[in-house]
Symmetry: C2
Subunit: 604 residues, 2 copies
């Protein structure tokens, strides 16, 4: 089959490029009602390579005959024939001509068959369909962005797993052997967004990471276009330097002298916390790296009972064992009772102080804990995954007082600072210990004889090899907002949670989970439907109340109006945990939430 058919299937002919009228039809199946809104480009423009004239406009493209097969000649159909029509005959003629030419010249370097493709890049002639396809995708995405901020749009269109698996209005999740047309790919993109959750919606309060920052989004689009890897300066020079400068800035904000120290962006707070435990172990017992945990005495880690479960995950994964992680009791706002840190019969090595606990948003007293750490020569880690952002606010940073005494800090800009997922940093006060802990000096990546200063290569600090570029969106947001912009964002979110707190603290039907003003944006409360309010305290009331939040949440999701989290905690039955990190949220959205809780929960 003209030098192609290494497969056994039957090829047929398809040709678009020489018969361009086939490829760009006026009729546009699924897209036909759309109003064309981009000026048509002349084909002369298309051939112009200069920067200025190179702008593509979306035209009405028929994607139903286009496939994304890269260099795969598009006339080859695996396993099926397509009847040859009038236009094809013309192409077949040209094809035969080229095959004869090919036989004559025997020039293997000219893949003449590509002449016939009308396919995405890197295919020959792939530029126009590529640009049209990407602009079509961007149209879908910008439309999604626009609607995300529109309060008349639902937060989600809920379906159960089995419903989505069965296929919603033709949305087929199954993968197949044969390619789909680009038209179907665009439909798949629309459907994917349609059945997803709008985490940037002003009324989405379900997670610590909410919002859709436009600059951050642009940063992510660029990051994926650059499609590179953080492990060496060689292939990510700009991003590596941005990471270095940003980490230094963060260390300065923590309060380490001259921003000295080390750090790295990792895939989330749990991994950052894991880094802290590993780094501490290397600092005190470097022989564990080579000889394993049996070379060290019994090591004990401490954290508060309300700290994030990733500390427990780290103690299991790294070979400490969860039983050697001591959970310290806390008061209602999860302040560690720091006298609990003194323990007999083991080697206390590491204390995690939480700055902004996941459920209550509480801050452990870092100074008190630091005193004990100094006394017993323990590593102090501050898990500021959630609360670290408050360091950007002159008004709220006092809640992390003492953080400069930490040996390491986790800080997730993807939470309180509104950076798109993922963006988490582990910052270490002492230089060298992070590399010491993780370096394996792989020769094929970290050649010492490169022409540049290889101390900029970051890969040997990481437990990963390849590492996603998480820095650019954050750097770009910092540029666009300034430090002061982050401060404003954080102050505004805390103002909003204060508004919610003062609104419901004495309101009928609400009961706060802990006393006093929340320290972070976490506002934890029970909503009591009228039927429960007058019930005597006891098991029956608790049982009924336990079911209220899940029911309201289910109704919320089914109506798609808003989303907020709930959970039990210790002996406390299910309660709502409201968190605000979305800059799109306003007081009216807070009011909407309470109205909705009351509307949905009134008759429970």
């Amino acid at each position: 089959m003209f030098g192609i058919g290494s497969d056994d299937s039957n090829p047929s002919f398809e040709c678009s490029a020489p018969c361009n009228n086939l490829g760009f039809l006026q009729k546009n199946n699924n897209l036909e009602e759309k109003i064309s809104s981009f000026k048509e480009r002349s084909s002369k423009d298309l051939l112009d390579n200069s920067d200025r004239d190179s702008r593509f406009r979306r035209t009405e493209t028929d994607f139903s005959n286009l496939f994304a097969r890269g260099n795969w000649p598009s006339y080859v159909h695996y396993g099926k024939y397509r009847p040859i029509n009038q236009n094809d005959k013309h192409c077949v003629g040209i094809l035969i001509m080229f095959v004869l030419l090919n036989l004559k010249t025997k020039n293997e370097n000219i893949d003449m068959l590509q002449f016939f493709t009308l396919d995405l890049l890197p295919a020959k002639n792939g530029e126009e369909p590529t640009m049209q396809f990407l602009l079509e995708v961007v149209d879908i995405l910008t439309n999604y962005v626009r609607k995300t901020f529109d309060r008349s749009t639902k937060v989600l269109d809920f379906h159960h797993p089995h419903q989505l698996l069965e296929g919603m209005e033709g949305f087929n999740l199954e993968l197949s052997d044969q390619p789909e047309s680009l038209e179907q790919i665009l439909v798949d993109c629309r459907d994917t967004l349609k059945y997803g959750v709008r985490t940037g919606h002003p009324r989405f309060f379900n997670q610590l990471s909410t919002g859709l920052d436009i600059i951050g989004l642009a940063g992510e689009w660029l990051t994926s276009t650059a499609n590179t890897n953080m492990f060496t300066y060689e292939i990510a020079p700009v991003f590596v330097l941005m990471e270095q400068l940003t980490l230094k800035k963060m260390r300065e904000i923590i309060g380490w002298p001259d921003g000295e120290g080390d750090g790295i962006f990792s895939p989330g707070g749990a991994i950052s916390n894991m880094y802290s435990v590993m780094t501490a172990r290397y600092k005190f017992f470097p022989e564990v790296k080579t000889k394993g945990m049996t070379a060290a005495p019994r090591l004990v880690l401490f954290t508060s009972e309300h700290s994030h479960y990733s500390i427990k995950k780290a103690s299991a994964a790294l070979g400490f064992g969860t039983e050697n992680l001591i959970l310290l009791s806390t008061d209602e706002r999860t302040h560690i009772h720091s006298d609990g840190l003194c323990l007999q019969g083991c080697v206390p090595m590491f204390v995690n102080a939480t700055a902004g606990s996941t459920v209550y948003g509480a801050f452990d007293p870092i100074h008190e804990i630091a005193d004990i750490c100094e006394k017993y020569n323990m590593w102090l880690h501050v898990d500021g995954a959630w609360g670290g952002g408050l360091l950007m606010s002159r008004k709220h940073r006092h809640k992390l007082r003492g953080v400069e005494r930490a040996n390491s800090v986790t800080w997730n800009p993807h939470k309180m600072m509104g950076v798109p997922l993922q963006c988490s940093a582990i910052l270490v006060r002492e230089r060298g210990v992070l590399s010491g802990c993780n370096s394996m000096c792989a020769g094929y990546l970290f050649q010492p004889d490169k022409q540049y200063d290889v101390s900029y290569d970051t890969g040997d600090k990481a437990i990963q090899c390849g590492r996603h570029v998480d820095i650019f969106k954050f750097w770009l947001m910092w540029k666009a907002k300034g430090t002061i912009g982050f401060e404003h964002h954080i102050d505004k979110c805390l103002d909003l949670s204060h508004y919610l707190y003062t609104k419901i603290r004495d309101r009928e039907g609400y009961q706060m989970v802990f006393e006093g003003e929340p320290q972070h944006t976490n506002v934890c409360f029970w909503y009591l439907p009228p039927g429960i309010r007058d019930m005597p305290d006891g098991q029956e009331r608790r049982d009924r109340l336990h079911k209220v939040a899940p029911k309201i949440k289910a109704l919320m999701m089914e109506s798609g109006t808003t989303m907020v989290g709930y959970q039990p905690q210790g002996d406390k039955v299910n309660f709502f945990r409201m968190v605000i990190s979305n800059p799109a949220a306003t007081r009216s959205d807070i009011d909407f939430l309470t109205d909705e809780i009351e509307r949905l929960g009134h008759d429970l």
Copy 2:
């Protein structure tokens, strides 16, 4: 201060929305030479919310007065005054009117000040600037994409770290307190791409992950727009199901009956390999999770000496110690000598068989190793981070013969399958062991009383908490190419490496690093400049040859024409490792590479 001033700085006035002619000037500082190529939208269109009419066209927007401050009223300048001009006076009038109205109504819920902002979403009136800004970014990105595939474009524009840090033509990497204008942000985006490396360029051969797949790129753009988290079905329903179906498909391709088993996408092959070691340990010694490594006997891991260094990183991190990782000797093509696996005086627990080694692209004999694993009851992991993609090819999958006997498999679609970074899967044959190993049952995320089937929540399988959505781009590519499209891509890359191998194996000035046809696309060779060719074998010749590849590489990077990796290995001095995973590469690019090596290396 009209109810704003929680800061101490002096505000001045800036107003754009009511004086729209200010915001969208014809003159366009840095952009002024650009030829407007999008039809101007009428303001009537702008107000239309329907799907069909909502398309925005790029217009010539003046971004120099636009800032990305979200809900931060744009007339507030921190710390500096701006003189009030004619147009502002009009605005000031309206402002005063609204303030008076505000004082009168005392309605705190109406943030009337936002009326004056011309800022990105979520700001009021932010829709138009947001769309214009995003389209401007897309213009930068599509231009970059277009040029990436253009062979007349350089692969990179190399600069040393200190040069970039000093600021290239005004490209300032430093972060500051004050915001930058959107115009500057766009310049920053252009500069970031300008000084980066085009990993999708047809002549970029430097890493195992190369190429820029257009569908994958679109998938990443959508992923970042959706900006959600894989931990629960609740907030990532579609992505969670896509992951589940795709992992099942991968397990089917591995050959596990009915695609049964478990798995998860992780942040890279190193973490996937780490999962395999953790999971194996949990399978054989579940008590380690709670009691730590001291509860188990001395556990030993095995891998070939040429395996990826992440196995060593995992043994250090997880508390085994690198000395308890036994490196098995291999032949030149790094086949494990499987008789070396039998060891005395320890508990052998885990063997890693490499399917596609990083440098040589060699495949360990899985069946032989599986026999030994069965005999000694050891966990068999196959690290197919690089070679796993060959499973998609009927022609090449035999190289992983026996993979169905593995207990776990690492397989990185972001390498040989051309999926954008990051996309790595760890697949486990036995169901339940991955969750058992990692679950901590965090109440605030994985509530058992949700309204949907919570077995779809994935978070408790992971060592991460939040997890980036890596699945969508891969799923979308699979849809667009079909299984058969991946097969074609892989066959084509292996054909190209065969072309290179046959071209240079007997060519003057080249020497192959190992005998015989490469198994993967890795072609390892020395280039010998004429001055070295006739030197007698010995230390001097070795010393000189050792410096050849780094010098050629440095010259390549400085001229920016192409990039290929080099490294020493064992007692072998620096040699080139050519790898092909980029679907854009053709024979002419291979020819270009050898020409370039000869051109740059001739006089060394």
